[in-house]
């Protein structure tokens, strides 16, 4: 029967000990421990959420980047195309101008050649006239001396004269 009868002394000391223990542990152990664990849980949760949003942002950023790159590429292509067109235009223009210039030069050259030719012919004509006159003079002189001789002279002179 002793075994199942609570002794007053032990009830007294258990109550006091347990209450003090409850107070001390509650204040200096459970509160800081549970607080720290909860804070840690919260910080882990926050970190995970932050990682998630960062990932989302990164994805967004990447998409933006791609868009920007595509834009840049398109712009570059446009620029290149424009440059090529301009070059072609310039080249064409230059060609055209060069052609015209050469045509002009050629024209001038032809003109001058023609002039020279005309001059030469003119000179020749004059010379021929002079020579003819000289010959005629001689023939006339010879004719006067010798008919035959004058004929020779004429033919000789004519042989000598070679028209070039």
């Amino acid at each position: 029967m002793d075994l199942v009868t609570p002794g007053f002394g032990l009830v007294f000391w258990t109550t006091i000990t347990f209450l003090i223990l409850l107070f001390l542990l509650g204040k200096f152990a459970w509160k800081p421990i549970i607080g720290a664990v909860n804070a840690r849980n919260k910080s882990i949760e926050d970190a995970l959420r932050l990682a998630e949003t960062t990932k989302e942002e990164m994805k967004q950023l990447q998409a933006d980047n791609e868009k920007i790159i595509a834009e840049a590429r398109r712009e570059r292509d446009a620029l290149l195309k424009e440059a090529r067109e301009m070059k072609d235009q310039i080249v064409a223009q230059a060609k055209k101008e060069a052609g015209e210039e050469s045509q002009k030069i050629l024209q001038a050259a032809k003109q001058s050649i023609e002039n020279e030719k005309k001059n030469a012919i003119q000179e020749l004509k004059t010379q021929v006239a002079e020579i003819s006159i000289e010959i005629a003079e001689k023939i006339l002189a010879k004719e006067l001396e010798n008919k035959k001789a004058s004929e020779d002279i004429i033919s000789n002179s004519l042989d000598k004269l070679k028209l070039n």
Partner: protein, 370 residues
């Protein structure tokens, strides 16, 4: 899912063990009670009950003197006695009783210790008996620091050291994964919080009761395990003492009823949906239920731990019953088995006490949705 199954099977196993321990213990008691002690034999029954009861000395070992007398070596503990007429407090060391062999006189009173109980003695140091031979001498109020009380203090000190050092570890290394003692304790603390307290009381209201339930869990567990150590400073059967389990169950009773909400009291005094003529009966039944729940807590813990101690002591006592050392290997093997089992029971009983306390509190504070 799998976790719940494990929990349930643990619980079932616990109940099975509980019943088996009861039956073993009672058989042993019967066996011992029916045995007549002859001269020269060890009184096993008395030895066991001395061990599981409380003591005013802390027994270390016995020495046998040259003349054959056996003298126990003990650590004396303080005796604190309260005299009521007139009020006075008397203190002295338990060694002055010389293990109950000599009376101690303080002021106008003479005290005698008989079987660990302290009585007022006649001036000549004798006790008064009635005709049947039971003691009728008056007793002072005894609040001595007994073996159980000092173990209680030891456990409390141990807990304060362990858990304040854990708490310090959290402030020293905030937000970092726990390690060492802190790493060992944190999963247990979180197990109590997340698997015992929150499922029974609910996430919203658990914080208020968590300190009590954590304290009670570790208090019971540590005391159970200290009780399993067979030598100083262990061996005290603290959680197997009805006074201790009574106080713990009383705390649960008080906390449950102080925090009981309107629904809780309505269910006791005006159970909804019940014919009016049944109410008087139901009120009585419910009030019995209020007491019976913590009463079961008290008895369960007390009986389990005491039974465990009795079984271990009985197995050791086989050596003295058979009076041969040849039985010792059998005793040792069985004691080893029992100790391992008791190690499990120590945690299991702490778990059950905490879980049921949380359940009772949870029932008292839960919101009903009719």
């Amino acid at each position: 899912m799998a976790y719940n199954t494990i929990k349930r099977s643990f619980f079932t196993l616990g109940i099975v063990l509980l019943f088996s321990l009861f039956s073993i213990a009672s058989e042993q008691e019967h066996a011992q009670a029916n045995k007549k002690v002859e001269k020269g034999e060890v009184d096993v029954n008395k030895a066991i009950f001395d061990h599981i009861g409380d003591n005013h000395d802390w027994h270390l070992w016995d020495i046998t003197h040259a003349d054959g007398t056996i003298h126990p070596v003990t650590i004396p503990l303080p005796i604190i006695l309260i005299n009521t007429k007139p009020f006075s407090i008397t203190t002295f060391m338990s060694s002055e009783f010389h293990h109950g062999h000599s009376p101690v006189t303080r002021g106008k009173y003479t005290y005698v210790m008989h079987e660990q109980k302290i009585y007022y003695a006649n001036p000549d140091g004798s006790l008064q008996y009635d005709e049947k031979g039971s003691i009728i001498s008056a007793k002072p109020i005894d609040i001595s620091i007994t073996k159980n009380v000092s173990t209680l203090f030891l456990a409390a000190l141990l807990m304060i050291l362990i858990f304040t050092s854990c708490a310090k570890a959290y402030t020293r290394r905030p937000g970092i994964a726990p390690k060492g003692l802190q790493g060992f304790m944190e999963p247990i603390i979180l197990f109590v919080k997340d698997d015992i307290v929150i499922p029974n009381i609910g996430d919203k209201k658990h914080a208020k009761f968590l300190p009590y339930l954590l304290t009670v869990f570790f208090f019971i567990w540590i005391l159970n395990m200290i009780g399993l150590i067979p030598f100083f400073p262990g061996s005290a059967n603290v959680t197997g003492n009805i006074a201790v389990t009574f106080v713990l169950a009383l705390f649960t009773l008080i906390i449950t009823n102080v925090n009981g909400n309107k629904d809780y009291w309505k269910h006791i005094f005006a159970m909804p949906g019940l014919p009016l003529w049944l109410l008087p009966i139901m009120i009585v039944v419910e009030l019995i239920g209020v007491i019976a729940k913590p009463f079961a807590l008290m008895i369960r813990l007390f009986a389990n731990i005491t039974a465990g101690h009795i079984v271990v002591l009985s197995l050791v006592s086989l050596i003295f019953v058979f009076q041969t050392l040849a039985i010792a290997p059998v005793s040792v093997a069985f004691v080893l088995f029992m100790d391992v089992l008791e190690l499990f029971v120590a945690a299991l009983q702490a778990y059950i006490f905490t879980m049921l306390s949380a359940l009772f509190i949870g029932l008292a504070v839960q919101e009903h949705h009719h």
